[in-house]
């Protein structure tokens, strides 16, 4: 089967991937979410309200910026940055949380829960909940709370409760587990705003659709600003929501090369990275059949990334589908290349990128250097890097 935009099917399958591997307790809520989302998609007023919020509250469309000094530094293709870092709350995550907040209101649920790694999704969820008046609880691993302190404080300022997760690796994966457990008991009055294109059907489809505004705008902006589609698009990929939203509107444009960049971490050794599509294999985690990092018994393996948002042992099922069909090429940037790319963008363009997005910058710069000057590479700059300042200082041994 070739890659197509006509997925998932009725069972939530992207080719072989996806599905719904969750306890029976959650089935009714997922069925209800599917029904409400499908109705909302057909509802003109729902779409209009989301568009209005995107424009006046988030600040969309986000610019497509020609990074001329970074381009000159590479000496190859023209590099453009899709500036999701300029959105309200500083990342692409708000695109999804506002959409799901509208769904929450539609379902009449007064309480929202979420997981967060880097804290960007947590802040975006807390923001949407404040805007709509929902009670908000965000689960976050203790290790991530340590390395993303500014976002933790922001969530509290926005009125959310941040619940530290001390089980397992104390990172994103454990935060997802705790959010699922909360939902098991509260499903009647609570919506779980999952932040990435992972999890049981219909989440991967819903998150991809709400994030697809990134790719739709990029497509239109490319036609307006350069008069054609780009040659290559690069996005970082942990769970893969910014990449899914960026790539999806280009899936049927075979001439546009799509590159997903995973977290290469410290080394290629199991446990030292989070490059699931590069080194993992198909299996089941967090409700979906997709590539995962597991041992031979099916136990989830430990992963590592310098960026909390990519420090995850799974990936969205649609990415697994795109990988196996060959539509998207998945590579990885290690921690060192990522920190170098962070520096390069800061010094050449005056933009501090999130460490997650710095992975995409690292590979985009490498790819652009091998291309001609009349070619175009677009990078999804999914978030801003202010949240990472303290962690970067710590890694450099500098006082913050």
């Amino acid at each position: 089967m070739g890659a197509t935009s006509q997925v998932p099917d009725q069972a939530g399958r992207f080719g072989a991937f996806g599905g719904r591997y969750v306890p029976e307790t959650l089935t009714r809520a997922l069925d209800e979410l599917t029904r409400q989302y499908d109705e909302a998609c057909r509802d003109e007023s729902f779409r209009a309200e989301l568009e209005d919020l995107s424009r006046h509250y988030v600040g969309r469309p986000s610019p497509l910026y020609h990074a001329e000094r970074l381009t000159a530094r590479c000496g190859g293709a023209q590099i453009y940055l899709k500036r999701e870092d300029l959105n309200h709350t500083g990342a692409h995550k708000i695109n999804n949380t506002l959409g799901q907040a509208l769904l929450t209101r539609r379902m009449g649920k007064p309480r929202v829960i979420a997981e967060t790694g880097a804290g960007q999704h947590g802040v975006a969820t807390a923001t949407a909940c404040a805007r709509f008046g929902f009670e908000c609880v965000v689960y976050m691993g203790e290790e991530d709370i340590r390395r993303q302190k500014p976002n933790v404080f922001s969530m509290r300022l926005l009125g959310a409760e941040v619940r530290p997760v001390s089980t397992g690796s104390r990172t994103l994966r454990d935060a997802v587990n705790e959010a699922m457990r909360d939902w098991m008991a509260t499903v009647e009055n609570t919506h779980y705003i999952l932040g990435s294109s992972v999890g049981p059907d219909p989440f991967p489809r819903i998150v991809r659709d709400f994030q697809s505004v990134i790719g739709r705008e990029t497509r239109r902006q490319c036609l307006e600003q350069i008069g054609r589609l780009p040659d290559t698009i690069v996005a970082c990929c942990g769970g893969g929501s910014n990449a899914a939203g960026m790539f999806y509107p280009f899936i049927d444009d075979a001439e546009v090369k799509l590159v997903g960049v995973e977290a290469g971490g410290r080394s290629e050794k199991l446990g030292d990275h989070a490059a699931t599509l590069n080194f993992g294999r198909p299996g089941v985690l967090h409700g979906a059949f997709s590539y995962v990092m597991q041992d031979d018994d099916g136990q989830t393996a430990d992963v590592h990334s310098v960026s909390a948002g990519l420090d995850y042992p799974g990936v969205g099922p649609e990415h697994s589908f795109w990988k196996d069909t060959g539509r998207v090429q998945y590579t990885y940037a290690n921690d060192r290349e990522t920190l170098d790319a962070f520096d390069a963008l800061a010094k050449s363009e005056g933009i501090l990128p999130a460490l997650e997005s710095s992975h995409a910058v690292a590979k985009a710069v490498e790819i652009a250097a091998q291309m001609n000057k009349d070619e175009v590479v677009v990078v999804c700059l999914s978030g801003r890097g202010d949240k990472d300042a303290a962690e970067i200082a710590r890694l450099r041994g500098e006082h913050f």
Binding site: P23, M180, E188, H286, G298
Partner: protein, 266 residues
Amino acid sequence: MSSIDTLFKTLRSQNRKAFMPFVTAGDPDLEFTSALLRRLVDRGSSMCELGIPYSDPIADGPVIQASYTRALDAGLHVADIFDMLAGTTPELPAPVVTMVSYSIVYRIGLAQYVARAKAAGVAGAIVPDLPVQESDDLAKVCRSEDFSLIQLVTPTTPPDRAKQIADKTTGFIYYVSVTGITGERTELPPQIVDNVAWLREQTDLPVCIGFGISRPEHVRMLAPVADGLIVGSAIVRRVAEAATRDRQSVLSEIADYVDQLLAAMP
């Protein structure tokens, strides 16, 4: 006819109910698990449910999660569990079923998992993260091996879907008493009684109730309407002490606790 079918046929003919303890494999080690299974059956348990430790058990509360973490941290592998069972089940006059995540079953291989479990004397599997619409592949393997695939019905399951689940289940139906994760509860929702009574009218399969059951008053409330009761976290919590205390006294305390619950059975 599987050993589970035979068990419930016998119990029903005697108008008795099944008491089914849940224990985590390998907590604190497999030698203790083996001794615990023997002791539990010795005291009158009709069947044992053995939890296969998993790294990300989203349906489990803190007590069972912690037991899984202890077992995995000690280096437990699925192959070791089957070895222990192969040495234990021949002398155990009660069926054993595994509670296992589909992540593990899929990684080991559906046919491979069922074959290895069966060879170790296991009668069936409960796969809590495999809802009925995803269960066809495993159900097919289980049917051909006469290995029971026990499916779950919960308070949030609509009636039509509950019937569909009953049609696809073998062995017994696991009725989840509460909307939530595993763990002891002080009180259980009273509507369980009506829900289980309704479910038993829809099917000839035995219906057993689990999640939250930990006290004699729970047993008195639920045993009359069900074919069996499952008690997990209350036992696993007591097992947790086996790592640091005299094992024989922990085994005796669990046996005493089980006696109290059994005394409340009709």
